[in-house]
Symmetry: C2
Subunit: 137 residues, 2 copies
């Protein structure tokens, strides 16, 4: 009984039980993003964001598309196991008016205005920008 409904449900609720992952889901609302863009908005290490994304993907809450060295994540239009969809809908509506989420969306706009190549360059360890402060938590 490895994949009982309880297990899948818990996988989803656990995936949703972290503020960074909720922020990621809301960021993906308008459309797909690559990892470096999410990194830029959240202000977390790429490895950390990658882990969050893998947890969301394991719960079928996001889908991934690889293109060359770049990985693009997006919300699923329809999940195979449909149970995740209502959860996403609920989260979205619950956070309609959240301040942090709005700040993230705003930040995303400036990030989207920038070439991802440029973002990644800035995020390299050698860069002098070195992760200029982003609202943590």
């Amino acid at each position: 009984m490895k994949n009982s409904p309880l297990r899948s449900t818990l996988q989803i609720t656990k995936a949703l039980a972290d503020s960074q992952r909720i922020r990621i889901l809301m960021l993906l609302e308008p459309g797909e993003l690559c990892v470096c863009q999410i990194v830029e908005v959240l202000g977390l290490a790429p490895s950390t964001v990658s882990k969050h994304l893998s947890i969301l993907a394991a719960a079928d809450l996001v889908l991934m598309r690889k293109q060359g060295r770049w990985a693009y994540y997006r919300l699923p239009k329809l999940t195979r196991k449909e149970i995740g969809r209502p959860a996403l809908d609920w989260v979205r509506s619950a956070l309609q008016e959240d301040e942090q989420i709005h700040l993230d969306r705003k930040k995303l706009k400036t990030v989207m205005a920038c070439d991802p190549e440029e973002l990644c360059k800035r995020q390299r360890p050698s860069s002098e920008y070195e992760n200029k402060g982003v609202s943590k938590r």
Copy 2:
């Protein structure tokens, strides 16, 4: 911004991100139960169950009614912050066919057939029954 939507949402998702608490919510589906009845089904220490219930209550996912020394918990018909309700509905429908949940319901029937006074007597540290095996997990 102590009570932002994100915060309330996270409080709910965190409350839902534990199998014992999910089991408790499903146990409460038919109607209110007192703590000792839940203890009997889950097979956990009363203090542990109490903690779980307080987490659920803080997230507005259960309501409490005190009657003498006894505390009765139930699902809310309508939550003040309505945001919790769809989450509960989602969990219920997702777990419609879960084996563990069905086992719990079955066990609950035998527990309900017993006087709560008797349950508590059995659960006392002095009792020789000493938590006769109940499906853990």
